[in-house]
Symmetry: D2
Subunit: 132 residues, 4 copies
């Protein structure tokens, strides 16, 4: 299962070098993860309200191969690379005309809101994705 | 009473036109307001925890006269222009070498966390600033 | 002529009060203005490359009536309220379920890249919008 | 050689979970890198103007161990872990009261502005830091 959305770069995303600022791709990746989970029937809002579970980002590995620029139309792709008991490892990319500009592996951990300790992933997730 | 702090523009503040992105000055202004209140003995964190009061921004009027650029050292100034029962009207400016680049009037309203309705300003504030 | 787009709030837009940070609406408004102009046949990229014209924001007036929260689906509307020789005055709003949350009047000025002085608006704009 | 600066978290840095948004630490890290280089006598502005060299971020590895919250005073530390011909590998951390919250390894590559190809690091850098 792979989520993708198109996005057009605005000034807010860019910096004085004329390219997208390195931290701003992470905001696009947040949207991708959130929409992929929604497609799988998982609402982060409900997960929090009903099960007291939130996701926190544990680790980001991000390779910047080429820059996106103002007005570029890019594609943001998101898929689940791997699941463990409490973690989701996402593989996410930014592409422009089929070329990978940015490639990231981002690990999110399910936490209980009560004690902020790792918590087993929601069954809906486990059902949809086979643990490798 | 006037608060001011120096700040050096980094890439994160700028956009592809080579200047500071118009929304990013507002983050600098947030710091100015927060530090001015701290200088007056008002901690927003304590105000929330002890008195259930938060401030929300009601209105921003911002005039952009000239742009700040990457690596510029700017001065951010903040003063209270006026108080009403539940509102603080801040006058804030961005200057570079004495020249005003951005000038703003920003209104914050004290709200009760219980019902999110306007609430009388904390006495410490009223004591320190004469209501015009 | 009015442009509107739907947008779902992500964490990146919000702050620790649980609502959208006041400066972040301005990034949504940028997208609105840029897309409205595109709908009118005006590409900011081409305008810059072919005619050496850029738009700079001169003034923001923004009223915050009620906050948008994480996961809210909002509508961002943009229309041109008024044109002068070198300026476009945009009227922009954020709505949730028909209710106006934020309302702004944002003035952009056309500048020549050569001397950064105000420049007459491109004919395409003037043709499409009657000057009041 | 190690650079460090204190920073107090403002709302702009946080998100609706009440903690600093994961991408926003990267902006703090940018400041750290830029100030460390300045301390070594390297101005990114001069490097660009005089030698046509810019730095681009190639890779970010970032581990989030514990979150910083609104009003926290944190320490941002930056040191150069390793240099290669065209690359600087920075080790950067966010600490609160001596505890590491975030730890990152960030690789910047020197590029020629003419062809955007990797370019030998400026001698000042190589002189100040022994290549391991």
């Amino acid at each position: 299962m792979k989520h993708q959305f198109k996005y057009r770069i605005i000034y807010r995303d860019t910096d004085a070098e004329g390219v997208v600022y390195y931290a701003n791709y992470l905001a696009l990746f947040e949207r991708g993860r959130s929409e992929l989970l929604r497609d799988m029937g998982i609402s982060l809002t409900k997960l929090k309200e009903e099960q007291n579970i939130v996701f926190a980002i544990n680790r980001v590995e991000c390779d910047y191969k080429a820059p996106a620029q103002y007005d570029d139309e890019i594609l943001v792709t998101t898929e689940i690379e791997r699941l463990s008991k409490a973690r989701i490892i996402f593989k996410q990319e930014i592409l422009r005309e089929g070329k990978i500009l940015v490639s990231a592996v981002i690990t999110a951990c399910a936490l209980s809101l009560k004690d902020l300790r790792p918590k087993r992933l929601p069954p809906k997730l486990l059902k949809n994705v086979s643990i490798k």
